[in-house]
């Protein structure tokens, strides 16, 4: 029994020495709060991106990213290193955002019929595909807006999977760990979400 505990401790110590994030976490736990700045600096872009792509609102994304890092800082004592730090951080970010979306459901409501009608008039999409167009940035921005609107049509669960997989480039396994669901559920949600998006953006994508 003692050997087993020692082995676990040794494995934990090895993991800490191997993983730069866990080394930083250990330093924060030891009272070095500056180490937390390193973790924030490393992940703030990705965390902001996830939240922004889930909310499609820059101000909300700012507030929720702040909240995520504060929550993580306050909960760091409870982080045991069983999962990777970034997975744990993503979980806080996603849960915080989904909770926010539940409370503010109406705020992000889009009229489905309006969106469908607009997708019919998609002449600017053809313009986007021709190179050297001076209005290309404008067209791209419009395209992004349409994509954001389409993403908002998805349920938060489906949107989360699409954002984590397609935008953040996470694997099915990593997403399953963040959301605490099976990889089968992740694949299923992803498949359904992409079908929905394809349908919503049929005039814009091939």
């Amino acid at each position: 029994m003692r050997d087993a505990e020692a082995a676990v401790e040794a494995a934990g110590a090895r993991a800490v020495s191997d993983d730069p994030d866990l080394r930083l976490v250990a330093r924060v736990k030891a009272g070095d709060q500056a180490a937390y700045s390193s973790l924030v600096h490393k992940y703030k872009g990705r965390i902001f991106s996830v939240i922004y792509n889930l909310t499609s609102n820059r101000e909300d994304a700012n507030d929720l990213a702040q909240e995520t890092f504060i929550k993580a800082f306050r909960s760091l004592d409870r982080f045991r290193g069983r999962s990777q730090f970034f997975t744990w951080l993503y979980r806080i970010a996603v849960n915080t955002t989904l909770s926010h979306l539940r409370k503010n459901r109406l705020r992000h409501f889009f009229n489905y019929e309006d969106l469908q009608e607009e997708t019919v008039n998609a002449e600017w999409l053809e313009a986007m595909t021709s190179a050297n167009r001076s209005d290309r940035p404008v067209v791209l921005r419009e395209l992004q807006e349409k994509l954001n609107e389409a993403l908002q049509q998805l349920s938060p669960k489906h949107r989360t999977v699409v954002v984590l997989f397609e935008v953040e480039g996470m694997s099915h396994e990593e997403i399953a760990e963040v959301l605490k669901v099976s990889t089968g559920t992740v694949r299923s949600r992803l498949h359904y979400a992409k079908q929905q998006l394809q349908s919503l953006l049929q005039s814009y994508v091939r």
Binding site: Q33, Q66, F69, E126, V167
Partner: protein, 176 residues
């Protein structure tokens, strides 16, 4: 001519459009600028400090206070006062020895003798000088170590409070 070509059906073939995956990957480029991140860092730093301050409960503050020499002395005196009162209740009234630095730190407390008033729970408060209070408020939650010598803390123990809860009743006496 060129307009005709751009608007021709050939330009609208599905292959000329991005795939859904390509479109989604465009979102990776949606990142704020440096000015945004500078403000973000400042706000986050302030938010973390505020959350740490909020977490420090009154108990923690009291514990920190008792960890300092002046606080420890106050704690000891509090214990002594409580023991004194218990002894007073179990036997004849005792005179509690005066202690600490001088008359300015003497605080009147309600009498330990049973005056017949309705009994209520003990009320215990820890006081400090105004300068120490100002330091605690201005600096957040900490009792600054520089103020330790300036503290004129006393332990205020009241027993058998009247119905209005005030300890200044006839029979009050100086504990220390």
């Amino acid at each position: 001519m060129s307009d005709k070509v751009e608007n021709s059906p050939a330009d609208r073939i599905p292959e000329s459009r991005p795939s859904l995956e390509e479109l989604l990957r465009l979102k990776r480029a949606e990142q704020p600028d440096a000015a945004f991140w500078a403000k973000f860092d400042r706000d986050l730093e302030r938010g973390i400090v505020q959350s740490v301050v909020r977490r420090r409960s009154l108990f923690e503050r009291g514990f920190t206070f008792l960890g300092r020499p002046a606080g420890a002395l106050a704690g000891l005196l509090l214990v002594a006062a409580l023991v004194g009162m218990l002894l007073t209740e179990s036997s004849s009234p005792l005179s509690v020895p005066r202690a600490t630095t001088g008359p300015e730190s003497w605080i009147p407390v309600a009498a330990a003798e049973d005056t017949g008033a309705e009994r209520q729970d003990f009320v215990i408060e820890v006081f400090a000088s105004e300068s120490a209070r100002a330091g605690a408020q201005g600096g957040g939650e900490e009792w600054r170590s520089g103020d330790a010598g300036d503290l004129r803390q006393a332990v205020y123990v009241a027993e058998s409070l009247g119905p209005d809860g005030t300890p200044d009743r006839p029979g009050s006496r100086v504990l220390f």
